[in-house]
């Protein structure tokens, strides 16, 4: 087993509070499934606001940091056999239904 990180980009849900809630439930179901199968290691959703610290004078600016479609909405750390397996496991991610993307990256062992 190797470690992989999912970075969730874009995929804003529009709609009524009920629709938002339904969408969040899908996330819950998907992560619960990963947990029960023992792939889930850690992860958190991220708020859409924040600060950006940049350059050697360390200028601090408010977000957003990129186009809304590129905004990272959260991350997960999972265990998978290899990159193909990690990609396969990401297929159930609800972000794919709302036009978002899952970036699958192997954790580098240094």
């Amino acid at each position: 087993m190797s470690e992989f990180m999912y970075l969730f980009r874009g995929g804003q849900v529009q709609g009524s509070p009920e629709q938002m809630q339904q969408h969040m439930q899908k996330w819950g179901v998907w992560i619960k499934e990963l947990t029960e199968k023992g792939f889930f290691k850690a992860g958190q959703p991220l708020d859409r606001t924040g600060k950006l610290v940049k350059g050697s004078p360390k200028t601090v600016t408010d977000g957003p940091f990129a186009e809304s479609k590129d905004l990272i909405g959260g991350f997960l750390l999972i265990d998978a056999k290899d990159i193909l397996h990690a990609v396969e496991l990401s297929a159930g991610c609800p972000i794919l239904e709302t036009g978002g993307a899952v970036e699958v990256r192997p954790v580098l062992k240094m």
């Binding site: 996330w27 992560i31 619960k32 889930f40 850690a42 958190q44 959703p45």
Partner: protein
């Protein structure tokens, strides 16, 4: 609430669950004092407890481990709230209570500790109330509960309802605990009548929870619930207008609760499946024979004696034998009843039981040996456990003086 929170926090964090509930109650008192109570106080409390639980889980998730079966679901915000929400849903709460009931009936704990735990955790009785119900001191009950809680918290895991290997034995212990709980309310030694009726109600509520779950809705569960209904139906008639204890023979049967009798008979019918004949089946059947008699002289005493014979084979006890002898006395006359009492093998174990002497007194009185009867009633009086029993037995002593005593 404690049951639901313990499910989330894990049994080893029982004290934490209780703290959160305590906290929610304190918040309620503060807020309600200024804003008045909300329309749905229990939902308000539930929501407050839930939010407190989320705070605790977030703050302490690195320092403590919580429920092992929920594991990582509590570690990430992706699933934390939904997982906690799920634990607080009505259906889950019912299961939580059931799971807690089974967890309280740890074989390692003495039966009275199991009952005290159930009353404390699932029925929210204070140590003082439990002490009142069990005729014990508050300090003794507090000690008993805290010791039991320690054992419970050390059991690592809540009882798993799908554990088919341990389930039947544990269900038996749960039946026993509910039976004792109900009995404490019904025949109990306590003098506080309000608490006693509540004990019966709580036992019946928890019994209904057992019936609701497919795994625990066994014939014996139905029989136990039938037994409780049939006895509870007579609860209001046990005390007469002047607040005195009234024996089954003298009760105003029109005051029996018809709806509860019906429910009891229905449950008894439901219990008549499978091959297991539990003591609850037999006791419920005895109660049903009494319930079927509109007047005391219509009672089918022969059927009752036969049922006591069966009960003695399932659960031999001098108290059961005594009750059988009383039924024989009703059926075949006081001499035969006294013979049967004489024949009880471990009769010496009844020496501290007031109703042993009261039964001897009744039978002697019925064959007009007033002086002997009076001595028996006096012996019973000396053993009486509550003011109500005392008043009842004083009245029986008095009955021995009257030229034409009624029995």
């Amino acid at each position: 609430m404690v049951a639901a929170l313990t499910r989330v926090f894990g049994i080893h964090n029982l004290a934490l669950a209780e703290d959160v509930v305590q906290d929610a109650l304190c918040r309620a008192l503060e807020v309600w004092k200024f804003q008045g109570a909300p329309d749905n106080p229990s939902a308000w409390l539930m929501a407050t407890a839930k939010n407190r639980a989320l705070d605790v889980l977030r703050r302490e998730r690195t320092a403590r481990t919580f429920a092992p079966e929920l594991g990582r679901l509590l570690e990430t915000e992706w699933t934390l709230r939904p997982a906690v929400e799920e634990m607080f849903e009505a259906r889950t709460i019912k299961d939580d209570q059931l799971r807690m009931m089974f967890s309280c009936c740890l074989p390692r704990l003495p039966e009275e500790a199991q009952v005290a735990l159930i009353l404390h955790i699932l029925c929210a009785f204070s140590a003082g109330e439990i002490a009142g119900a069990f005729l014990s001191t508050q300090a003794a009950i507090e000690k008993r509960i805290s010791r039991a809680k320690k054992v419970l918290a050390g059991s690592k895991k809540l009882f798993d309802l799908s554990d088919t290997r341990d389930f039947p034995a544990r269900l038996k212990a749960v039946h026993r605990a509910l039976y004792l709980l109900f009995n404490e309310g019904y025949h109990g030694a306590s003098s506080e009548s309000a608490v006693r009726a509540e004990l019966c109600e709580e036992a019946m509520r928890l019994g209904a929870l057992l019936r609701d779950h497919p795994a625990s809705s066994t014939p014996a569960t139905h029989a136990l619930c039938a037994l409780m209904c049939l006895h509870a139906a007579r609860l209001s008639a046990r005390v007469d207008a002047s607040g005195n204890l009234s024996s089954l023979l003298d009760q105003d049967r029109s005051r029996w609760d018809g709806a509860l009798l019906c429910e009891g008979r229905r449950l008894l019918d439901l219990s008549a499946t499978g091959s297991e004949l539990s003591e609850y089946h037999v006791e419920a059947a005895i109660a049903a024979v009494h319930a079927d008699a509109p007047r005391v002289e219509d009672t089918n005493w022969a059927a009752i004696v036969a049922l006591y014979d069966t009960l003695l084979t399932i659960r031999p006890s001098p108290v059961v034998a005594l009750n059988r002898a009383i039924a024989v006395g009703q059926n075949e006359g006081p001499e035969r009843g006294l013979d049967e009492i004489e024949a009880i093998r471990d009769r010496d174990r009844l020496a501290g039981y007031p109703f042993y002497f009261a039964a001897l007194g009744e039978l002697e009185l019925r064959r007009a040996r007033r002086a002997v009867a009076r001595e028996h009633f006096r012996a019973a009086l000396a053993l009486a456990r509550s003011p109500m029993e005392r008043r009842f037995l004083e009245q029986r002593v008095g009955a021995c003086d009257e030229p034409r005593a009624s029995t």
